[in-house]
Each structure stands twice: as C-alpha cells, then as structure tokens.
Subunit: 257 residues, 2 copies
DNA sequence: GCTAAACTACATACAACGTACAAGGTAATA
DNA sequence: TATTACCTTGTACGTTGTATGTAGTTTAGC
C-alpha cells in the first residue's frame, strides 16, 4: 500500500515496479497529479497546494490523490523533481568555464523565478529523483577541464547554485512588493522617528541600496555584483596562476529561453 | 486594537506608544511571549511554535496571546528580530577586511545554527526591527576602509550573509540526518538499480562529496571552500591592484562565543 | 466616590487542513 | 467463478489560526 518514494520518483523508468496490473486503471496518472500541483503552485503559491485543491483541479475526490502519492510531503518532492527534470539545461558546450558557470547560475535563477515555490522546499529527498540527478550531472560538467577535484567540483557547484538560490529569493521578494509597499508606507514614518540619528551607516547605505526596505532595482544589482564575485572567487582557485582576475565583457542579463 | 507591527518591534524604545495605561496590567509581557516562542522553536523547531503551545508554556489561554501579538506571522517577525538583537556581534575592530568578513560570516553561521528556525523565515518585515537594523549597521562596518560605494557595500554584505545562510542550511540539514539515514538506507539499493551506468559523473562526484546524499563532512568542506571563494571574490574587487589573491593563514574554525 | 473608557482574559466556535479508516466497486488472474 | 489486487470515495478525527462576544479590572475625569 505504501509505495516507496524512490519508486514514485523513478516511475517512468523501465525498471519501475508495475502498478495496477490487477485492479481498475487510475483515472488519472501520477504525472497528472504532480503536474496539476505544480500548476497550482505556479499560479497561487505553495500554500495553494492542498490535497483538496489538487483533487478538485482534477475532478477527483481528495482521498483519491492518495492513490498516487503517500503524503503531501511526498508530493512536494515529486513536484520539485519534475521541475528539475523539465528545466531547460544550460548550454555548456565548449565555452570557457566562466561562461559555463554564468549559464548555470542564470538557468538556476530562471528556474527558481519560474517556480518560486521551489524556494520553500528543503526536503533532501529531492536529491534521489531522476530530474534532480540529471540536472546535477549536467551542471557538474560546467567544471570540466578546470582540474578541480571531485570534492571541490561538488563544492564549487554548490557554491554557484546556492548563490543563484539567494539571488532568486531576493528577486522573488521584490517581485511581491505589492503587499509590502503598504506595510512600508505605514511604517516609514514611525520608523524614521524611532531611528532618529542612530545607525547612521545603516540608514545611509540602506537608503542607497533600498533592498533592505523596498526596491526593485537592487536585487538586480546584487545579482550582477554577486555573479562577478562568484566567478572571481572561483577564478582565484581555478586559474590562479595564469590569468588576471578582471571582469570584462559578460552580458549579464537574460535567462535561457 | 490592531497594534502596528512597527510599534511592537520597537516596543522597548522610549518613544513607543504607551499601552495599557487604562486597563489591568498584562500578566506577562510581550517580551516573555516572544522569548517563550523562541525557546519553543529552539527546542522543537518552528512547527512547534503554535499559538496554543506558546500560550500553554506561559500558562495562559490561547486567545490571550493575541493581546500581545496580532497574528502568528507577526510573532515570527518579532522572534527573528529578537534573535538578531541578542546575537553576539562579531568583533570587527581594526582587523583586515578579510578577517572582518570571515567574522561576519561565522557569526551569522553561529546565529543560524543556534536558531535554525530563522532559516524558514522569509518575511521581509523583519528588516523594520531594531535588532535587525542594529545587526545590519554593525556588519556594514566590516567594509570600512575598503572604498566600496554604498551600493556595493550593501551588495557585498548581502553576498556574505547569503552565503552564510546557505552554509548554515547545509549544516543544519546534515545535523538532522537521523531521519534521512533511514530513507537513504531504503533507497540506496533501488537507486543504484535505477541509475545503472547513467550519470557517471554525478555518481562519481556525488559519491566523493556525499553531501548530495548523506554526509556530515562535506558541509564543513563546503563552508571552508565557500568562505575562501567569497573572500577571494571580494578581493578581486576591493584590492584588485595591490595584493595578489592568495589564501594563506586564516584560522577558519570556531564561531564567536 | 462614581462613571465611562480602555484594557486584559477567556470560552466558544468556525473554517481549513492532512489524513486514517472502512466500505464498495472493478478488472485481471488463478 | 473465486480470488486477488487495486481504485474510489464518504465520513470522521485531530490540529491549526483566529473571529467574536462576554466578563472582569484598572485608571482618568468629573
């Protein structure tokens, strides 16, 4: 009755255990359930992904969802893996490692902006899924030819992806500033009064940056700043001898389509 | 009736609006409520912070909690700000900026490991609180004398703090591997079968790193790797002309006491 | 001293959630 | 045909945040 998550994750694999040979066919596939949940999350956020809502969007009863998924937590894992599986892979080809790292970062940014609910997911079991593993494998190739050890290669990729995750979170937040704008307006007056002359540095910098309060711009600035730091930081390790660490002409804008 | 969050955050400030002049005194202070919630979160995780649990830990009725706090979400913001307020500030003094950056990163790491529930909080309104602002102000000084613009100074601090956050999340995860170990044991067999020879790079690196599955060690490695990358990356910007970017003698271990 | 205002405290209640359980239906296998 | 294995669903329980209404308590103003 309790289907192991690992088999659910790999349900499309040829060796996956056959289900439903005997009884009646499921009216909907597990993929449909996961897809529907993703659609809900994309549209209305992770909180909208309730068992009942998923069920209704597929015209089935709430409890029927549990035919496909053991629990809501498992469903979230399946959603994440599906998102990882269907995310466009960055072209790595024979570009320089710097370009490849940028592409990995940007594709992760694009993924997380397309599915902001991924930011709320911290379940490690996602790492067991085929989509996640395929993504991991692909992105590891960004460091081909850099001479990094396996351990450092993993650490470097983690470094890049974690940065992308933080950047995405910042952008998603500033994208939701609709609500926060109100709070900010109400709070700005009292806050100024409370602050007075204290924390002058924070006040000056915070005003310039804006991000720490409300600003659409600074998340983009932080991204460009950060990606340059990431590349430069890796550069110090990878080609510490040969090149000078200068940031030159990297078009830093768009996400992969 | 509805107390603005900003006034709750600054409730200890001299200019805060006086409450309860008229009616009976609160049996417990707002600080006690927040403190109790923090204690609960520290001990049993964020999910244990229910209004009812907080109330019970203070021997009051659930609805009485709402005398001090407007909603659970507001309570979480107060908790975060209180944690920021009471976190030990890294000594910055007249150390080099590299050392100061390390200290900022390490103190953030220590804070997040002491209060892992902070990792689940994404409410921007925390930025309005006195503890958060004081922390921000203090940490901005890490870049004194580096010649960074205000905008870059903010971006640099964000870069460092975001890194610390990711690193803390990794360590917290590996610290909870008790449960995951089971899942891993059950899944390892089937996973190996599914994988076969595919994704050889991921398999090799994943095995070496271990983090992507289950390993206590690699989070520490990732931290040391990352902090060096962070410093080197900033170095390329800050003293790009003068020094060579070599990582030498930085004792990378303990958090501030 | 008295009344009204401002406040605390609490019991009750509701809607939404995840999901356990059991009953009933259906299709392939023996 | 009987059995087995599965799907589907209604009902129900426990937990959550919190709206609402009521009763009690303290102080300000007269």
């Amino acid at each position: 009755m309790a289907k192991p998550l690992i088999d659910l994750l790999w349900r499309d694999h040829p060796d996956a255990p056959v289900r439903g040979a005997r009884g009646p066919q499921s009216r909907r596939s597990t993929g449909e359930v996961v897809g529907s949940a993703i659609a809900l999350a994309d549209a209305e956020g992770m909180d909208a992904v309730t068992i009942r809502a998923v069920a209704e969007s597929l015209s089935m009863s709430p409890m029927s969802v549990y035919t496909h998924v053991n629990s809501r937590d498992d469903l979230l894992v399946l959603m994440a893996d599906a998102a990882h599986a269907s995310a466009p892979r960055p072209r790595l080809g024979r570009a320089s490692w710097r370009t490849r790292v940028r592409r990995v970062a940007e594709s992760n940014l694009a993924l997380l902006r397309a599915h902001p609910w991924l930011l709320h997911l911290t379940d490690d079991r996602v790492a067991l899924g085929p989509g996640t593993i395929a993504k991991y494998d692909h992105e590891l190739h960004a460091f081909d030819g850099t001479g990094l050890s396996d351990l450092d290669r993993d650490a470097a990729l983690t470094f890049v992806i974690d940065f992308a995750r933080s950047g995405a979170a910042a952008m998603v937040r500033t994208g939701q500033r609709g609500e926060f704008a109100e709070v900010w307006q109400e709070s700005a007056g009292p806050l100024g009064r409370y602050l007075g002359d204290s924390y002058s540095l924070a006040q000056r910098v915070g005003q310039a940056a804006g991000e720490h309060m409300a600003a659409p711009y600074s998340a983009e600035h932080a991204w460009e700043f950060g990606i340059q730091r990431v590349v430069a930081g890796l550069s110090a390790l990878i080609d510490s001898a040969t090149e000078q660490t200068v940031q030159t002409t990297h078009s830093a804008s768009s996400a992969p389509k």
